[in-house]
């Protein structure tokens, strides 16, 4: 049975490929309950912390963890060495839960066979890394916003003070939202390394999301702003005493790490077997 035709080989341009892949990933993100569950989790966390720490104790008094609602969003100053849980429990927690969400999202790519189907076509490994990073960064940025709403509502309900320097607050929120890109690229990279081991990829996301390595380093070198070159360092740097320069630092750090992790991830995917 010979039935051949004229051969014409051409593949879509980089932008066409990325547009197609982003379209698929955004469709999947918006059509998976997991995304909305994580948005809800992000909103509930500040509400729970503010609500529970604002309750009366056995003696009838209130030992508030925060004396200002916005401390649930960011610490007062960039303290790399965490002294108590209050400095730790702020919008940075979104990046821990975001890591778990990225693990589930990418893990599903492998479990469903989507990656297998994808990489038999003209799709390039760099497209995959970029698409995942951008979509997961968007998802984490959305989580930051629901976290903000959750915090504001809880602050209002617990009648915690809202006094703040608006410029600093906006800079802190923007700085943290901008950091989503860097964190998403780290988690995408980790999930590419551990793509065959779903449990390990979730555990690694959680481990790195807590910034435990930076906290450990800070314990040795102290509250040094040199730690800003790391993702966790910059995320801490976006605090309630931030200014526009802080946002620029966060943006630069986030984009730099996103590029580094994307290049590394692309290299790993290119040099190893998909399955």
């Amino acid at each position: 049975m010979k039935n051949t035709r004229e051969l014409k080989f051409e593949s879509p341009s980089f932008f066409q490929r990325l547009k197609g892949m982003l379209g698929v990933d955004f469709y999947r993100l918006f059509h998976t309950p997991m995304f909305y569950i994580f948005l809800a989790i992000a909103a509930i966390i500040p509400a729970m912390i503010l609500g529970m720490t604002g309750m009366e104790n056995a003696e009838g008094g209130i030992d508030r963890l925060y004396d200002n609602t916005w401390q649930i969003i960011a610490a007062d100053t960039p303290l790399y060495v965490v002294k108590d849980i209050a400095e730790y429990a702020n919008m940075n927690m979104v990046f821990i839960f975001g890591g778990i969400m990225v693990s589930i999202f990418i893990g599903h790519d492998y479990k469903s066979g989507y990656v297998k189907q994808l990489f038999t076509t003209h799709a390039k490994k760099q497209d995959y890394m970029m698409s995942k990073t951008l979509v997961c960064a968007f998802a984490m940025a959305c989580m930051c916003i629901t976290y903000l709403f959750g915090g504001v509502i809880a602050g209002a309900l617990t009648q915690t003070s809202f006094a703040v320097n608006v410029g600093s607050l906006v800079s802190a929120i923007l700085g943290k939202i901008v950091m989503s890109l860097g964190w998403a690229s780290l988690y995408t990279f980790l999930n590419i390394i551990f793509r065959k081991y779903f449990g390990i990829s979730i555990a690694s996301s959680f481990f790195f999301g807590t910034g435990i390595l930076i906290i450990g380093a800070a314990a040795i070198i102290g509250n040094n702003s040199a730690l800003n070159i790391f993702l966790y360092g910059s995320s801490v740097y976006a605090c309630l005493s931030s200014d526009f320069f802080t946002v620029l630092i966060c943006l630069a750090v986030s984009v730099t790490w996103a590029i580094i992790y994307n290049v590394l991830g692309t290299l790993i995917l290119s040099k190893s077997d998909v399955y």
Partner: protein, 301 residues
């Protein structure tokens, strides 16, 4: 120019050599039946052709270009084991997502076309997870057909299907070569089905290609035999074994004589020895028997 040209291909997984110096040539427009026992290296070879795993050595050329070339990859459709679909999405959505990944312009028209080709127009709104195995395999072929491929690589698409599923799949594959004009590489253990559609064959064993041939060459290679039944089968077999070099009893209770000059000669010979033939027919060994014989020959049995 050939659709696929593989030279000295090898793949090691640690110490295990899955593919070992494999050569393979698939002409354009062929339906290439890729045959081999479990663990012979079929799937590994197909995964290398599809770019899912990297060869340890050797060269794979698709339409004269390196198999990793993005332009060529854009024209390769693949179904490896099971389709990469999302369980909770409908058949339509899964195909539309694949169309988006392939940057297909008229996605809806294309998806309708491939659904029609695989006879799944009526099941487009079904959730993928609710589809039967046969339907899932056809969805996989539909996904592979998106983007108007010039080469289709299908790994075991008919395994696990019932008789009706196999018939539909066979019709679909024949339609594809007619209507899409693409080269198809299809691996399967169900040789009887493969024989009905393949124009070329490649037989792999221990990671090496041991035989490549066209359907015409297979036809020529497959020997004719005479199958017969008598009332005294054991004596008949003993008598025939005295005159003919290869006499065997098959699973359906017939004695097969492979090097007989004619059925008449056998009937006369047995009659002269006091045995009446109750049933006699001539037939050709099929692909399955040819394959088994070849394997026995390679094993030195």
């Amino acid at each position: 120019m050939n659709a696929i040209e593989i030279r000295n291909l090898s793949k090691n997984f640690g110490e295990k050599q899955a593919v070992n110096g494999l050569n393979m040539t698939v002409p354009m427009g062929a339906i290439y039946g890729f045959i081999g026992e479990n663990g012979s290296g079929k799937s590994t070879t197909e995964k290398m052709i599809c770019g899912l795993i990297h060869p340890s050595g050797g060269q794979i050329k698709l339409f004269g270009k390196d198999h990793t070339d993005a332009d060529v990859r854009a024209k390769v459709g693949v179904l490896i084991e099971t389709p990469g679909c999302f369980q909770n999405y409908s058949v339509w959505n899964n195909l539309m997502l694949q169309a988006a990944n392939l940057s297909i312009q008229n996605a809806e028209t294309e998806v309708r076309k491939v659904l029609k080709t695989v006879r799944m127009e009526g099941a487009a709104s079904n959730k993928y997870k609710n589809c039967s195995l046969g339907m899932k395999q056809r969805i996989g072929i539909a996904m592979a057909l998106l983007g108007d491929p010039t080469l289709l690589v299908l790994d075991e698409p008919i395994n696990g299907l019932d008789a009706d599923g196999m018939r539909i799949m066979r019709e679909v594959l024949v339609d594809i070569t007619k209507n899409y004009g693409c080269t198809v590489v299809v691996s399967s253990h169900i040789l009887g089905e493969l024989e009905k559609i393949a124009t070329h064959y490649g037989i792999i064993r221990g990671g090496r290609m041991i035989k490549e041939m066209t359907a015409e060459e297979l036809e020529t290679s497959c020997r004719t035999y005479v199958a017969l039944q008598t009332r005294d089968m054991s004596r008949t077999k003993a008598l025939l074994a005295c005159k003919y070099s290869r006499v065997e009893e098959d699973e359906s209770g017939y004695i097969r004589v492979y090097d007989a000059e004619s059925p008449e000669g056998i009937v006369t010979y047995l009659y002269e020895n006091g045995i009446l033939v109750s049933e006699i027919k001539t037939a050709k060994i099929g692909l399955e028997e040819y394959y088994i014989d070849l394997m026995k020959e390679k094993e030195g049995r």
